[in-house]
Point group: C2
Chain length 342, copies 2
Amino acid sequence: MNEVEVNINEIYNLSKNILVSYGITEEEAKATVNSLLDAELSGVSSHGLMRLKSYAQRIEAGVINVKPDIRIDKDLDSVLLIDGDNGLGQVVAHKTLKICFDKLENNSSVTAVVKNSNHFGTTAFYSKQVADKGYLSIISSNAGPTMAPWGGYEPLLGTNPLGASFPAENSNFVLDIASSASAKGKIRAIKNKGESIPKGWALDHQGYDTEDPEQAINGTMLPIGNHKGYGLSMMIDSLCAGLSGASLSYETVSVGSAKRNANIGHFFYIINIDDLIPLDNFQTRMGDWFQNLKNSKTREGFEEIYIPGEIEDNRKKNVKDIICLDEIVYEGILNLATQRQV
Amino acid sequence: MNEVEVNINEIYNLSKNILVSYGITEEEAKATVNSLLDAELSGVSSHGLMRLKSYAQRIEAGVINVKPDIRIDKDLDSVLLIDGDNGLGQVVAHKTLKICFDKLENNSSVTAVVKNSNHFGTTAFYSKQVADKGYLSIISSNAGPTMAPWGGYEPLLGTNPLGASFPAENSNFVLDIASSASAKGKIRAIKNKGESIPKGWALDHQGYDTEDPEQAINGTMLPIGNHKGYGLSMMIDSLCAGLSGASLSYETVSVGSAKRNANIGHFFYIINIDDLIPLDNFQTRMGDWFQNLKNSKTREGFEEIYIPGEIEDNRKKNVKDIICLDEIVYEGILNLATQRQV
């Protein structure tokens, strides 16, 4: 993989203008690019700017609605059902967060289940915003089927991520974990380097544990912790799709496919910490806890103990005006910009 | 380990009467024994009747309150803060569930965070009751520190379990997973058989990966999926203790210790499915999904695909009037009954 140095402002505007050229509003295009760029700067390229091309392909195929009427289908006391009207996942999630924050003006907790959405990027992008508001969150999305149920080898489950966040004294806790041992994107990167993958990550198409990344890509991902990741993925499917009427992972399509509407589901659970414990006290206590963990002894092979989200946060803080992008991703965006005359 | 066949009614009454002899009410004693017996019959002996002895030791040491005034500290729109007044965990959880079910008469969701509690058994025991009511749940508890943060080897985190449940057509989905790769109880059982443990389960007291169960018991448990289980354990600590004011795992004591109050925290999140989707439709759809997963191809070494909770449910259904108990556990209960003159 060759990398090129790219000016952040330039790539931001280019990406945003591509989306605007399809009829997406300025605000919604910004929300989308903010999510992709946040992932890119945090070192999570698998959810970064490489996604723009597949979003554009889906828009051009007519399976994403660029003018969605995102609406509240049910507004219950503490629970909301949101219809994303097949908008870009980031656009739907951006609006959903706003609705949740409004609801939290008068409520101690809010649960929003979302249907008719699409790939929304990382959960971390949203859960950081929640923590910045002084709230605690659990945020999830389901995804296309790439993982086998425990004991099987047909791809019927998503690598559905579990996100969680809360604020502490000098930083946020930001958890964003897939329910699979690894991700196809990561395995592709290993394949490009000509290396092999560890056992326990994936099965080949006949259901045998494989160390060959090529076989893994044509096979299925394995859940983390055997039956545990399997159960976690199902729990997330029930929250995102079971409660909302979105497609379950086995009913939807991969984010890379432009064949049909995805009807992806999301789950947002947010609680107003300050209603239970004065926020200052909570943040101080969490900060002390983090220090205790970080000050504890490291084992051989580790130099530091990190709080979930800290590594990504450090990476992002170290970026100035320039990022390194995969050359193929950068050229893809340039080509798209030329096509769209932006 | 020698096993003895025991009549279920006999052991139920004996256990209940032991608790009653300490001044616990009939209803609260039943709630406690129901939890322990449910785990035992489901094959989860680590949370079964073997726990009664440590509960009794803690009661006798005066670090559990047998007449707790379990009260609602804060009753917000959709969020409750419950003070368990240092009652037995099962007693506190039993009352909390009741309060939650009452709240759900008029609410679409309820979150209850609980402080001043103790070891409450399995999350599955409570989440099954929630699913039987037609609700969906996420239920957790924190626990004493036995697990290292990722990259470290000091026991600062609990093997905090994540529980989740919802009802389907012919069965419930019941997830109950520890955030550690294994549990000390399981490692003790392996040690008793003279066998070794797989790498990745535990570290010795100097922080080295060990296959020796003895070294593991004196060392620390490892999280599932490396940094993932670590983050999961922290998330659960924040929900159970951060929000409620209970002790974080690193501040509390092991359930086996009778030195001081534990101030364990719990988290209950329950949502009324029928407010979002007609319950019948939800259950039918989930049932179809389960069938699809179960009908998919199994890989070598597996004969069947199970839905989370199914194996435990099958075990319980196969029990008639008799269970097999560890002889040491049974004799411990008999001795306790003699001491307590019940």
